[in-house]
């Protein structure tokens, strides 16, 4: 029998993930043993502590570059920065998830499995929501952190499942509009399961080609393998389908509007900010490390996908009448802009990460404000109900206007600086066609945002205009941080640009 060599494990490098995973497990124990009335306070504290401790350890590790557990995890500058983004955005999204002042018992129900509008379902409308949401959030965030630093495709697959499964569950927990919420959870689960299968089949084919699932070994085998290139091309195509599904790129975007609309708004915010960061972290790593040398093969396809994503996302956003669906299509179009960064490879990694930060903060603030516009049936998300909100709630409308202008890419907002950084690095990488499509589609995309602004200020308020709820401290903090980041990253983006540039790129050895 051959001696088995245990791979060396660098616990310090893994510490951020170990903390978040470990405290998620503690959260499960708390759920089982802490008395019901203390559970919310315990879980919320635990979750916030886990996220902050994770962030602190990521910052301590900032100069680390190491491949550990036999190549399963690669900690490098870009990976650590992505982990940091996910944790920071996760902390902000936590504010929305833990908010219990807007609605008695929070935005979630206790039992997602009750059939919509059954007796049990009606009864739980007035009960306190599930506190399992906190360990689930931690598991999802830890999975995203692992996804960004996985050094082989199997670890990446496990991480993908670890962050997807909690999200499927959390989508079905909305307190209001139960049927829509359950529908979104089922759709997301079924389509996500298909995408996972595609991903896994792609991994199998690539293993057949390269004889390894490690990203660096795949890169090496591209240079000296004698296997048929069909295996590599087919494997890469299937792998890309799995990844592009999570990133919500056209034509794998159809789930996005339904899921974003049906899921509880705090979870939609978490998906739009953190999952986007994780999915593009994974995409950037796979294409930059494993397939950089084969870019001639995949570049035309991903370029076409990026163009389709930008165009379809922005055109369909124009036709939306529901604010959550509008933001969903805007998130699809933004996935297209980020794909420009993926196609441009090495030079655009930094500006892609900058874009993820800028977009993440703005989108969290936007969904945070969506939770505030309420009537007796919960959130009023139809755009016609938003007409004339500026009269009664000028501060709210002003802040929402800033976010919308940011999304539209008006100068002095983060939307402008991030798009400028991304497009200029794509231009330097000779992707001029993509840049032109990107600029034109962002002009189209500015229309729906400005339409909302006009609706808020210039339309007369109707009889049915809902009230803007007085936000609790947590939502107030989330919206404040999001709006502040949108302005600061627009006016003075250089410090963060320096940071992403000094974070460097992915470790490919």
């Amino acid at each position: 029998m051959n001696d088995i060599q245990l791979p060396p494990i660098d616990y310090a490098a893994l510490l951020p993930m170990l903390i978040v995973f470990g405290l998620a497990c503690v959260g499960i124990l708390a759920e089982a043993f802490v008395p019901r009335k203390h559970r919310f306070a315990v879980q919320a504290t635990l979750t916030l502590a886990a996220l902050i401790a994770g962030l602190v350890t990521v910052i301590i590790n900032r100069d680390l570059e190491v491949t550990t557990i036999g190549g399963a995890v690669t900690i490098d500058g870009a990976g650590l920065f992505l982990q940091g983004i996910i944790l920071v955005l996760g902390i902000v999204a936590f504010g929305l998830i833990a908010e219990r002042r807007l609605e008695r018992g929070g935005a979630f129900v206790a039992n997602a499995a009750h059939a919509a509008d059954s007796d049990g379902d009606k009864k739980q409308l007035n009960e306190a929501g599930a506190t399992e949401i906190f360990p689930l959030t931690l598991f999802a965030i830890a999975g995203m952190m692992l996804f960004c630093v996985s050094g082989d495709l199997l670890t990446m697959f496990v991480a993908l499942e670890v962050f997807s499964l909690p999200l499927y569950l959390m989508c079905g927990l909305a307190r209001r509009r139960r049927l829509l919420s359950q529908e979104s959870a089922l759709k997301y689960f079924l389509l996500g399961a298909f995408a996972s299968a595609f991903f896994l089949y792609g991994v199998a084919l690539i293993y057949g080609y390269a004889g390894s699932v490690q990203l660096v070994a795949i890169k090496q085998s591209v240079l000296d393998s004698d296997k048929s290139g069909v295996l590599l091309a087919a494997g890469l195509a299937l792998l890309a389908i799995g990844l592009l599904f999570k990133a919500a790129a056209v034509p794998f975007h159809v789930w996005t509007p339904d899921v974003y609309q049906g899921a509880p708004t705090p979870i939609t915010a978490l998906m739009a900010a953190c999952v986007k960061a994780a999915a593009f972290g994974g995409l950037l790593r796979v294409f930059n490390v494993a397939f950089e040398t084969t870019s001639w093969d995949w570049r035309p396809v991903i370029t076409a996908v990026a163009m389709a994503t930008m165009i379809v996302g922005s055109i369909l956003a124009v036709t939306q009448t529901d604010i959550k669906r509008l933001l969903a299509y805007s998130s699809i179009a933004n996935a297209g802009y980020l794909l420009v960064g993926v196609v441009s490879l090495g030079g655009a990694v930094g500006s892609s990460m900058f874009y993820l930060v800028a977009y993440g903060f703005s989108v969290l603030a936007a969904f945070g404000m969506v939770t505030l516009v309420r009537d007796a049936d919960g959130e009023a998300t139809h755009l016609s109900r938003w007409a004339g909100l500026g009269k009664g709630s000028p501060l709210f409308s002003a802040m929402f206007t800033i976010i919308m202008l940011g999304f539209a890419g008006i100068p002095l907002t983060s939307g402008f600086s991030s798009k400028f950084a991304l497009f200029s690095s794509a231009w330097d990488a000779n992707q001029s066609a993509l840049v032109i499509v990107g600029v034109l589609s962002s002009v189209v995309l500015a229309f729906p945002y400005l339409k909302v602004v006009v609706l808020l200020w210039l339309n007369p308020p109707g009889d049915e205009t809902p009230t803007v709820s007085v936000p609790g401290y947590l939502t107030r903090a989330v919206v404040g941080v999001g709006v502040l980041a949108t302005i600061v990253l627009g006016v003075a983006p250089s410090w963060l640009l320096d940071m992403v540039n000094s974070a460097g790129t992915f470790l490919a050895k």
């Binding site: 088995i4 499960i28 089982a32 043993f33 499995a113 048929s228 069909v230």
Partner: protein, 123 residues
């Protein structure tokens, strides 16, 4: 029949043979048998009982407990058996690691037990 993908040709031939076998068997069956359809013959066969209710029934959510416990113990044993053959050569560190692994799975079981999932009758 050589080359990396060439070995799949054998599989392709097997698929063709299987398809041909299926077609021949069913055609022979159709040619040889008598044909006497009746309403009773085209009902759903349900272990000899008369089928009751529609086919669009909701499954009892409780059955997920089976799946839950199965996954828990199956995953555990998949890793425990190979580990059991080599752990003495690798020292205490693998014992500790397996302890962590089993503890994480036990955590799920503990949670399920505290939530009353393991008792069949209470809702």
């Amino acid at each position: 029949m050589d080359g990396y993908l060439g070995s799949y040709a054998t599989l392709g031939i097997l698929l063709l043979v299987a398809g041909a076998f299926f077609a021949v068997a069913y055609t022979a069956n159709r040619l040889l048998r008598t044909n006497a359809p009746s309403a009773a013959k085209s009902t759903t066969y349900e272990c000899g009982l008369d089928p009751a209710g529609g086919d669009w029934a909701q499954a009892q959510i409780r059955y997920y407990v089976y799946a839950f416990l199965y996954a828990l113990f199956a995953v555990e044993s998949v890793f425990l058996f190979p580990w059991a053959t080599v752990f003495d050569a690798l020292g205490m560190i693998t014992v500790a690691e397996m302890g962590v692994f089993v503890a994480v799975l036990a955590l799920g079981l503990l949670y399920a037990w505290r939530k009353g999932v393991l008792s069949w009758t209470t809702a």
